[in-house]
């Protein structure tokens, strides 16, 4: 049995770094990297279930059976996409928080980071993380949730400070959920090359929580 005296099995920065080192999503040099990028793309536009291993294989120019040289099964591809998406963006968030001096700046930084993660280069993978969650087997969900915790803790501690200082009204947990919905949902309507800049959108989103 595991020690359950802690609320959750937190992972520290070192662990995060080691997982980061194994990330392949953004590496177009390796076959596995290309497979993951294309998987993120197809999983986003068609959904996980409607994407067959034959679709994925022919999209990267190999035979369907060859996929299973790189991944044990289809679920593991989904897991890898999600894991890499989280790890990559958690690193960006940590850097963003470090770089900001005021609390307001920090909140805006977090919002901008999250908007970029879901509408920028890793957008397809993050979309898969958000909208294909149910397709991940439960045991693998737990592992991904653990990775996500680091990320969510950054948000909660920032919001707690903001509430203490009277910048934000309400329960930090509820506010985080409401805001998370707004930001995740942006991928369904926001176009990064449209007339609304991501910076303006981030400021509008910051207005939601500030009082």
């Amino acid at each position: 049995m595991e020690d359950m005296s802690h609320k959750s099995a937190r992972l520290d920065l070192d662990e995060l770094e080691s997982v980061f080192a194994a990330m392949e999503l953004t590496n177009p040099e390796s076959a596995k990297g290309r497979l993951l990028t294309m998987a993120a793309h197809l999983f986003k536009v068609r959904g996980f279930d409607r994407t067959t291993v034959r679709d994925l294989a022919s999209a990267v120019g190999i035979q369907s059976g060859s996929i299973f040289h790189h991944f044990k099964n289809k679920d593991e591809i989904l897991e890898a996409v999600m894991r890499d998406a989280i790890v990559y963006n958690t690193r960006l968030m940590i850097e963003g928080v470090k770089a900001s001096t005021t609390l307001k700046e920090q909140l805006l930084g977090l919002i901008r980071c999250e908007l970029e993660s879901i509408n920028g280069v890793t957008g397809e993978a993050m979309n898969v993380l958000v909208f294909e969650w149910r397709n991940l087997p439960e045991e693998k969900q737990r592992g991904i949730l653990e990775l996500r915790q680091y990320y969510e803790d950054l948000w909660l501690s920032a919001l707690e400070s903001a509430v203490e200082q009277g910048m934000v009204q309400g329960d930090p947990f509820v506010i985080r959920r409401l805001l998370a919905g707004s930001l995740s949902w942006s991928s369904t309507w926001y176009r990064i090359d449209g007339s609304l800049s991501l910076e303006h959108l981030a400021e509008q989103a910051l207005l939601l929580i500030l009082h």
Copy 2:
């Protein structure tokens, strides 16, 4: 060719009423109604693709082939769930708007209505509408979008008034999208029988847009 001089083919209240009369989702008397309720349930918890017609059939106690006496194919079940969910909740919204006197009250009413639609009795069907959208064939998406327009127009006109009066800051369209994300997403974390009442959540959500 249709007349395309109008931005969208708006449907009026009479049409809405006639579609409403054919709604079966909430009718446990008819076999079709029970089928739709169970479909909404299964589509929500497993997703459309992972719900087989055999699952659905055995859940209502008939043979899998018998489903196709009521629906031409599986897609039409999804469409019917979505259509009934929209029509039912649009009616509630119209009544809510009529009943409110002040603008603030109207906004709170719209928020409460949307929260109830997605977390209350029609919650499973509304969840299917929001999260299984991609699984609906494109031609059917257009029909459902048309139904949704009435509903979205209610929101936009209320927000436009609010911006004019200085109650709300920003572009009504963007604000509506951000808020729609918050409210839709609530189904993933909010429990209607938990410690946070739906009324309190609605007030917290209203705080997001008010300034």
